[in-house]
C-alpha cells in the first residue's frame, strides 16, 4: 500500500481553504441518517462528538471513565497556544507554524501544522464563548504567557488548570447534545476491537466495565480519540487508565502505527521517590517562565540549596542557550537535565533531580505574585514532597509525558483503514519528533472542533446514508473473539500480577528506549520484551471474573497491548538511525551533544503495518516534503 497523505497542492497558507472547498458535503436532511462512533471523550473526542452532533449526525460516544468529564486532557496544566497576536509581539499564524515545525525537529507535515496554527485562533474564540474562564488582565482582556520553544507570548491559560477548563467546555457542549438526544453516551465502557466489513471500519466491540457485557456497535465511521500511550513506560504523567488498547487493536485490524518511538519526556516533573510509586506528577512548563534551572557546579556537592553560593551554581540552560534560556523546548531541557545528573551533579537523595528555583522571582515580584500565578502548582508540590517550594527550590526530573507517535492518518485524519479516523494524541500527525508546550490542547481541539466536521462529511457523502448492517457476521465474530480473549486472560491463573509485568516493561522501556537510545540497548530490550510477553501469557494472574466490575482484568488487557507496542517502539527506534527531537540515539549527536538529524535518509514518517501474530511488522515510508520551511540544524543558542 502506498501511503497517500492527501496533502493538497499549492501554497501552504491556501491548502486548507482549497481542500475544504473540494470536500463533499452531506445534505442537512441526510445527516441524521449517518451514525458516527467516537471513542474517548477528552478534548479531541468531546469536541468532535459535540460538533458532529450539532451538525445533525447521530453520535455514539464512549469513555472508560465514569464520566466523560474525567478524560486525561483534564490534567493539562499550563495552557493552549493560539496565534492571536493579542500581545503585538510579532506572532502570526506563520510564526506558530514555523515554531511548531522547528520544535518538532522537522519531522512533522507542513500542511497539517499550518492548518493547526491557522485554526488555533478559532479555538480560543469557541472556548471563550462556551464560558471557559481564561486568565484575564485588569482591562478585562485575555492574558497570555510564554512557553518553551517560542519567543512570543501566545499561550492562553486558566491558572494551572487549562486542560480542565477546556475539557469542561467541550464536556458542556457534549452534555448539551446528549440532552438533545443527538449523542448517546456510554461511560464506563471500553473498546476492545474494531469491526471490519470488507476492509472498511463499520463498528466496534465494547465491554461494559460494570457488568462485563461484551457487545458490538455499528456505525458509518469510527473516530478514535483515545489519547497517547505514555503508560507503556509504567511511570508517566498519564492517568492510571490511559492506555493504547483501542489504537492497538485497530492497528491489528489494519491501521498503520506511525513513528511509535517518538516519545516526549517532560523536563519538569516531581522526581521518583520509591518503588511504590504509581505515577509521576508534572509541574507545568509555565514554571520555566519565572523559575531558573540549576545544579551545583561541583559534582557530588550535597550541601542544601541555600548553602550553595551563587558563584558555585550552574544555570546550565541559561549558560548553554542564552537566547531561549530556561525556555528551550522540552526535549532539549530534559536531555540537559539528564546530562547534568549523569555527570554527578544531580541533587536530592537519589541524585536524579535538578533545581527549579523561584527565589529571584520572589525577590523581584514578591511571594504573592508568584502565588497568584503558580499557587496551585506550588501546593501540589508541597503536598507530594512534604517540602515548601516558597522556601527551598523545587527538585525536578524528566518524566514520560506525551507520545508524538500514533496511528497514521492522512490530511483528513483518516487512518489506513477506510472509515476509521484518529484524532488528538491518538494520531501522529502534527508534532513531529517533539511537541511544543501548550500544543497538545490546541491539536486535540483543532482536530475535534475544526477539522473532522469537514473531513468526515466527505467520506460519508461518498459511501451514502444506507444503514450499516449490524447483523453482518463480522460483528458476531469480533464479539466472540473479544470474549475468547477475556476467557484466555482469566484462565492463565499464574503467579505474577499484571502490575508486576507492567512495572517490568516500564523499566525496560525507560532504560533502553527512553531519553537516550543505543543500537545495543535497543536490541537487548527487544529480546527482553519478547521474553516478558511469553512469560505474561504463561504466568499472569488476573483476579476475579469476566461478568463483573473487574479492574484487574481491565488492566491485564491494557498491559498485554503495551507489551506488544513496546516491542514495536523498539523496532522503530532501531530503524531510525538518526537523532531527532525526543528520539536521541547516542550514536548520532553533534559535537555539542545535540540531536543530529539525517535529513537525506530519514526525513520520512515510519508507518508500521501489522502482519500477523508473532510476525515482524513491515515499515512503510511517507516522505516528508518541505516546500516552505528550510531544514536546518535546530538551534536555540
Amino acid at each position: 500500500m502506498i501511503l497517500d497523505s492527501k496533502i493538497p497542492a499549492g501554497p501552504v497558507a491556501e491548502k486548507w481553504g482549497k481542500h475544504k472547498f473540494g470536500l463533499k458535503l452531506v445534505n442537512p436532511a441526510n445527516k441524521r441518517k449517518y451514525e458516527i462512533i467516537v471513542v474517548g471523550t477528552g478534548l479531541a473526542g468531546a469536541s468532535a462528538a459535540a460538533s458532529l452532533a450539532e451538525l445533525g449526525y447521530k453520535v455514539k460516544a464512549f469513555c472508560f471513565q465514569d464520566s466523560p468529564r474525567r478524560a486525561h486532557s483534564i490534567a493539562a496544566q499550563g495552557g493552549i497556544n493560539a496565534a492571536k497576536n493579542y500581545k503585538n509581539d510579532g506572532d502570526s499564524v506563520y510564526r506558530l507554524f514555523y515554531d511548531t515545525i522547528k520544535g518538532g525537529d522537522y519531522r512533522a507535515r507542513e500542511g497539517n501544522v499550518y492548518r493547526l496554527a491557522d485554526v488555533s485562533r478559532n479555538i480560543i474564540d469557541q472556548c471563550v464563548a462556551q464560558g471557559v474562564p481564561f486568565a484575564r488582565e485588569y482591562g478585562g482582556y485575555l492574558d497570555n504567557r510564554s512557553f518553551g520553544g517560542s519567543q512570543v507570548s501566545r499561550t492562553f491559560y486558566a491558572r494551572g488548570q487549562t486542560g480542565q477548563q477546556l475539557l469542561l467546555g467541550a464536556y458542556s457542549a457534549l452534555s448539551r447534545q446528549i440532552a438533545e438526544g443527538n449523542v448517546t453516551m456510554y461511560a464506563r465502557t471500553e473498546m476492545l476491537d474494531l469491526v471490519m466489513v470488507d476492509g472498511v471500519a463499520q463498528g466496534i466491540v465494547t465491554r461494559d466495565l460494570v457488568t462485563g457485557e461484551i457487545k458490538s456497535h455499528a456505525a458509518h465511521a469510527v473516530l478514535l480519540c483515545t489519547g497517547g500511550y505514555g503508560n507503556v513506560f509504567y511511570l508517566s504523567t498519564n492517568a492510571q487508565g490511559s492506555n493504547v488498547t483501542a489504537a492497538w487493536r485497530a492497528h491489528k485490524r489494519g491501521a498503520y502505527f506511525a513513528n511509535p518511538c517518538f516519545t516526549q519526556i517532560h523536563p519538569t516533573c516531581i522526581p521518583v521517590s520509591g518503588d511504590h510509586q504509581s505515577k509521576l506528577t508534572l509541574m507545568s512548563e509555565s514554571l520555566r517562565n519565572d523559575g531558573r534551572v540549576w545544579v551545583p557546579k561541583a559534582p557530588g556537592d550535597k550541601r542544601p540549596a541555600d548553602q550553595i553560593p551563587e558563584a558555585e551554581r550552574d544555570y546550565f540552560l541559561e549558560r548553554k542557550y542564552p537566547s531561549f534560556g530556561n525556555l528551550v523546548p522540552r526535549d532539549v531541557a530534559s536531555r540537559n537535565a539528564k546530562e547534568q545528573c549523569d555527570a554527578g551533579k544531580g541533587v536530592g537523595g537519589s541524585g536524579l533531580a535538578v533545581y527549579l528555583d523561584f527565589s529571584d522571582s520572589v525577590k523581584r515580584n514578591g511571594a504573592a505574585w508568584v502565588k497568584e500565578k503558580y499557587g496551585n502548582l506550588f501546593d501540589m508540590y508541597a503536598q507530594i514532597t512534604g517540602e515548601d517550594p516558597y522556601k527551598s527550590p523545587m527538585r525536578i526530573y524528566p518524566a514520560v509525558h506525551y507520545t508524538m507517535g500514533g496511528l497514521w492518518v492522512d490530511y483528513n485524519l483518516m487512518t489506513t483503514v477506510k472509515g476509521l479516523y484518529a484524532l488528538g494524541e491518538c494520531n501522529f500527525s502534527d508534532h513531529g519528533a517533539n511537541r511544543l508546550g501548550a500544543s497538545a490542547l490546541m491539536q486535540g481541539l483543532a482536530d475535534g472542533y475544526f477539522v473532522i466536521p469537514y473531513t468526515v462529511g466527505d467520506y460519508l457523502a461518498t459511501i451514502g446514508p444506507k444503514p450499516i448492517d449490524a447483523t453482518h457476521p463480522a460483528f458476531k465474530e469480533a464479539e466472540n473473539s473479544a470474549k475468547d480473549y477475556v476467557k484466555k486472560l482469566l484462565a492463565i491463573n499464574g503467579t505474577k500480577t499484571v502490575t508486576e509485568y507492567h512495572r517490568e516493561l516500564g523499566h525496560i522501556m525507560w532504560d533502553y528506549c527512553g531519553m537516550s537510545r543505543s543500537e545495543e540497548g535497543l536490541k537487548k530490550a527487544k529480546a527482553m520484551i519478547q521474553e516478558l510477553k511469553a512469560d505474561f501469557w504463561r504466568n499472569v494472574k488476573v483476579a476475579g471474573e469476566g461478568e463483573e466490575l473487574n479492574q484487574s482484568l481491565e488492566k491485564a488487557g491494557r498491559v498485554a497491548d503495551f507489551i506488544e507496542l513496546g516491542e514495536l517502539m523498539v523496532d522503530d527506534a532501531l530503524a531510525r538511525n538518526e537523532s531527532c527531537g525526543g528520539h536521541f540515539r547516542v550514536e548520532y549527536q553533534t559535537a555539542d551533544g545535540e540531536a543530529q538529524r539525517d535529513d537525506e535518509n530519514y526525513a520520512y514518517v515510519a508507518a508500521w503495518e501489522f502482519k500477523g501474530e508473532g510476525q515482524p511488522e513491515q515499515v512503510h515510508k511517507e516522505a516528508l516534503v518541505y516546500e516552505t520551511v528550510k531544514l536546518t540544524q535546530r538551534s536555540y543558542v
Binding site: 460538533s51 460494570v210 521517590s273 518503588d275
Partner: protein, 254 residues
C-alpha cells in the same frame, strides 16, 4: 523503598449494586510515609490478588487531584483527614504506625454503590446535561476579545469552575445535598456575560434535575465547603439561591 508503617484497614466490601455489603478487616505492612493513600491500596490489592481473592475496587485515574475520580470516605471524612485535597493526594505521612483506618464509599441515595468503593455519580452528568452549558455551536463564536470581562468576575468564575465533580460535597452533607456542585456551575456561568442569555432557564432546569435525582435539601451547615478538595466557597450557594429566586419570580415556566 518500602517503609515501616503497619496499619489495620476496615474496608467496605460489596459485590455489586444489589448485594449487601459489609466491613472487612485487612492488615497492611511495610507502608512508606511517602506513599499516597491509593498507592497503599495498590499494595493491599497486590497482596489480595496473590492470595487468590478479589481485589478492592475503587475509582481513580489521574492521581494528581484533578480528574475527580477518587472518592473514598476515610475515617468519616470524604477524601480523608486533610483539607483541600483529594484521596489520591493524601499521603501516608498523614497517618501513624499502628493506626486503624476505616474506608467507605460515598454514601448518598443518588450515588448507588456499584462495587466496594465505586459509586455511580452519573446523576452529576445529568444535572449538567439539564442546563450546565452555554448553547453555542462550533463556529458561531465572535472574537475572544470582543467582550472584555472584568478580572474580578473572571477570577470568581474561575474559582467556581475549579469544581472537579468528585461528589465529596454530597458525601459530606447530612442531607446528601448537591447544592455546592450545582452552585459552582451556576456561579461560573452567571458571572460571565456569555452565560446571561440562558441564566434563568439554566438555574430552573438544573435545580429541577437535582431534585429529581434524589439529592437532599441544603440546610447551610457548610460541611460541603469544608470537605471540598477544591475549597469551593459557600458563597456560590448564596448566589445560586439569588439566581433561583429571581428566576422563579419572573419565570416563563408557569
Amino acid at each position: 523503598m518500602s517503609g515501616n508503617m503497619n496499619l489495620t484497614l476496615k474496608v467496605w466490601r460489596q459485590k455489586d449494586e444489589k448485594s449487601k455489603g459489609k466491613i472487612v478487616d485487612y492488615q497492611v505492612k511495610g507502608i512508606s510515609p511517602d506513599m499516597s493513600f491509593l498507592e497503599m491500596f495498590d499494595v493491599l490489592n497486590e497482596d489480595i490478588i496473590k492470595k487468590g481473592e478479589t481485589p478492592i475496587a475503587f475509582d481513580h485515574d489521574c492521581r494528581e487531584g484533578i480528574c475527580g475520580s477518587c472518592s473514598m470516605h476515610i475515617n468519616g471524612r470524604p477524601h480523608g483527614p486533610k483539607s483541600g485535597i483529594t484521596t489520591c493526594q493524601l499521603h501516608m505521612r498523614s497517618f501513624k504506625d499502628g493506626d486503624t483506618i476505616v474506608v467507605e464509599p460515598w454514601r448518598a441515595a443518588a450515588f448507588p454503590v456499584l462495587k466496594d468503593l465505586v459509586v455511580d455519580r452519573s446523576a452529576f452528568d445529568r444535572i449538567i446535561q439539564s442546563g450546565g452549558f452555554i448553547s453555542v455551536n462550533t463556529g458561531e463564536a465572535p472574537d475572544a476579545n470582543a467582550i472584555p470581562i472584568p478580572k474580578k468576575y473572571a477570577d470568581e468564575a474561575f474559582d467556581a469552575a475549579t469544581c472537579i465533580g468528585c461528589g465529596a460535597c454530597v458525601a459530606a452533607c447530612k442531607n446528601s445535598s448537591a447544592m455546592l456542585f450545582v452552585s459552582a456551575k451556576i456561579s461560573q456561568l452567571a458571572l460571565l456575560p456569555q452565560g446571561e442569555a440562558e441564566a434563568k432557564q439554566r438555574v430552573e432546569s438544573m435545580i429541577d434535575q437535582m431534585n429529581e435525582e434524589g439529592f437532599g435539601a441544603c440546610s447551610n451547615t457548610g460541611a460541603c465547603t469544608a470537605e471540598c478538595p477544591k475549597e469551593i466557597s459557600q458563597v456560590n450557594i448564596a448566589r445560586l439561591n439569588r439566581e433561583y429566586i429571581s428566576a422563579k419570580l419572573t419565570s416563563d415556566n408557569v
